[in-house]
């Protein structure tokens, strides 16, 4: 049960990463390598501010802002300086690696003595008379800390997801979708597609930075290692979401990304519990993404072969 709630909490946190990747990969139709950098950058900025005594809300907000800045920067490098999309993201991510080390003053920082979202949630839990030891759910013991963390992450991530859903119903959200779908069309209805693209990368990486900030608080420390493989993790959530949701509406697909991310963490948690060495985690994630991306294609081709040839 602890395992389940742990995976649920982490899934929720990484759902924001998944949403960020969904925005760049599916809505803006680009491949944004900034993600690896902005995830760690959001975590670092939030972590450093937490150690300076800032509350978890403002530290998380700062993580979001840091991610936005990173995304906007690679957007500007691509749109205004004419550097390719891949390279601009890669440049920003690489540069951020050094920025992270400098800001942290080392390779990692501990958040053990700070007011992170989980510790604040646990304090609240105790204040409102929650049992010190934990609670029984469906007859199984759950630690109070785990449960409190989950109960705190749920509204935090939930409200972020809700805001994203609302955002895509605004003029700017719709302009972003049009720009990713057909930039020429966007231009011809008076949309500054370059600016909208930059804003899109900012929003996308803002979510990624927020995800990093919450992730750091969840695990209680920040490490430079957090900058590795996050894009693939996000893509995995998007790929699973698209397997789950054949629905057409954007709202449903946003929910799908959240579910995909949680499902991914559950699978990972189960695999780890079943004895998969933690060192192989990235390998397994990458293989999973490959499978989820390739399987529908293979199935379609086989169906084509099976069907009588009629052009």
């Amino acid at each position: 049960m602890n395992l389940l709630f742990g995976a649920l909490s982490m899934g929720l946190v990484l759902a924001l990463l998944g949403l960020g990747v969904y925005i760049s990969y599916r809505i803006l139709d680009t491949f944004d390598l900034t993600v690896d950098g902005s995830f760690a950058f959001g975590a670092v900025v939030a972590g450093v501010l937490l150690t300076r005594g800032l509350g978890s809300f403002w530290a998380s907000a700062a993580g979001f802002t840091a991610g936005m800045a990173a995304g906007a920067l690679s957007g500007v490098i691509h749109q205004r300086l004419g550097v390719s999309r891949l390279l601009s993201g890669l440049l920003v991510a690489t540069a951020l690696y050094s920025v992270d080390l400098v800001v942290m003053g080392g390779g990692d920082i501990s958040l053990a003595s700070t007011h992170t979202l989980p510790t604040q949630a646990f304090d609240l839990w105790q204040r409102f008379g929650g049992a010190e030891s934990g609670a029984r759910l469906f007859g199984i013991e759950v630690s109070a800390r785990t449960l409190a963390t989950f109960l705190a992450m749920l509204p935090a991530v939930g409200s972020a997801v809700f805001l994203v859903d609302r955002f895509f119903r605004t003029s700017l959200g719709l302009a972003m979708r049009a720009t990713g779908d057909n930039a020429q069309m966007a231009r011809s209805v008076g949309i500054d597609d370059a600016m909208v693209f930059i804003a899109g990368l900012a929003v996308s990486n803002g979510l990624v930075g927020l995800s990093g900030a919450l992730f750091a608080q969840y695990q209680g420390f920040v490490t430079i290692q957090m900058s590795i493989g996050m894009l693939v993790m996000g893509l995995a959530a998007v790929a699973i979401a698209e397997g789950l949701m054949r629905g057409r509406s954007l709202g449903r697909r946003i929910v799908g990304v959240v579910m995909g991310s949680i499902l991914l963490r559950l699978v990972v948690a189960l695999a780890l519990a079943a004895g998969l060495p933690a060192n192989t985690l990235k390998l397994v994630t990458a293989a999973l993404v490959l499978l989820v991306l390739v399987i529908p294609d293979v199935l379609r081709r086989r169906r084509h072969l099976a069907a009588p040839a009629n052009g």
């Binding site: 003029s171 959200g173 719709l174 020429q184 069309m185 500054d192």
Partner: protein
């Protein structure tokens, strides 16, 4: 040939007396616009050579010409796809020569030859139209994109097409046929009355039935809204049938114009005859050049 030359000089007269765009407030004025693509390379193309042109408010002008005559380049110059090397372009008296394409699109709307270009395939019919309804406003001024009132308004506008598309407002526009998409693009271009409507061979990629539909729609919308329209077409029939002026382009220049009574009496055969004349003139030019070469080299 002599006649063609005289017409050109007539034209330049017409521009001289209407020189100040502020005083006449022409819907569109191009002054001596020239542009060379791939300038300085072996593949250099002098697409426009000093083109001048004025459209009064309410004018409906069609442009014909052979492939490579510069007629599409002319339209792209007005739309802002590129910025010309030389010359100025005014819309409603405002100098838009250096204005980026997206800003110009807020007053100059456009229907492309390719039905895929003017619509976003994965957005619904309602979403596409909503974007067009917001043509004059920046998306950064945040507001809800599709309110109930808006949906109702757009539905009503779509119903005026009489294509039954008002029942498919929630369908992705990419699932519609080329003709349906082009009809919707035309509607999108005119939802908010533009200062100038550009039609870029907008029926060239359609099947014959859709061509007829879209041509009828074009006639209706242009005359009912009294739109200033510049239409490039490959079809002599459309040039004869639509509009009140016909321009003929050749090698980056406007070489002939039919207007007024001349335009009303224009037949497809007349246009074809001018084309033949141009071709023979060209053959003459080439042999003349050959002769000069032999004489001097």
């Amino acid at each position: 040939m002599a006649r063609a030359t005289r017409d050109v000089s007539d034209l330049s007269h017409a521009f001289q007396y209407g020189a100040a765009p502020e005083s006449t407030a022409a819907a569109l004025e191009m002054r001596a616009v020239s542009h060379t693509f791939l300038s300085g390379s072996a593949n250099e193309v002098r697409a426009l050579k000093g083109v001048s042109l004025a459209l009064a408010p309410g004018d409906f002008v069609t442009v014909v010409g052979m492939n490579g005559s510069g007629k599409s380049t002319l339209l792209n110059a007005v739309a802002g796809t590129f910025q010309p090397d030389v010359g100025r372009i005014y819309v409603g008296g405002e100098d838009v020569t250096r204005q980026p394409e997206f800003l110009r699109a807020r007053q100059v709307s456009r229907v492309f030859q390719d039905p895929l270009k003017g619509t976003a395939p994965n957005l619904t019919v309602a979403e596409n139209l909503s974007l067009a309804l917001d043509r004059t406003r920046s998306p950064f001024a945040l507001r809800w994109a599709l309110t109930g009132a808006r949906r109702a308004e757009l539905r009503e506008r779509v119903a005026t097409l009489h294509l039954g598309l008002e029942d498919r407002m929630g369908a992705k526009i990419g699932t519609l046929s080329g003709g349906q998409r082009q009809a919707l693009t035309l509607l999108m271009a005119t939802l908010v009355k533009p200062k100038l409507l550009l039609l870029d061979e907008h029926t060239a990629a359609l099947d014959p039935r859709s061509v007829e539909q879209v041509v009828k729609l074009t006639e209706n919308v242009v005359s009912s809204q009294r739109l200033t329209t510049l239409m490039v077409t490959h079809s002599m029939h459309q040039a004869v049938r639509l509009g009140d002026r016909v321009l003929m382009m050749h090698r980056g220049r406007i070489v002939k114009e039919f207007r007024g009574r001349e335009k009303q009496q224009l037949r497809v055969e007349n246009l074809l005859a001018v084309f033949d004349q141009l071709r023979s003139m060209e053959a003459l030019d080439e042999s003349a050049a050959e002769m000069l070469k032999r004489l001097y080299v």
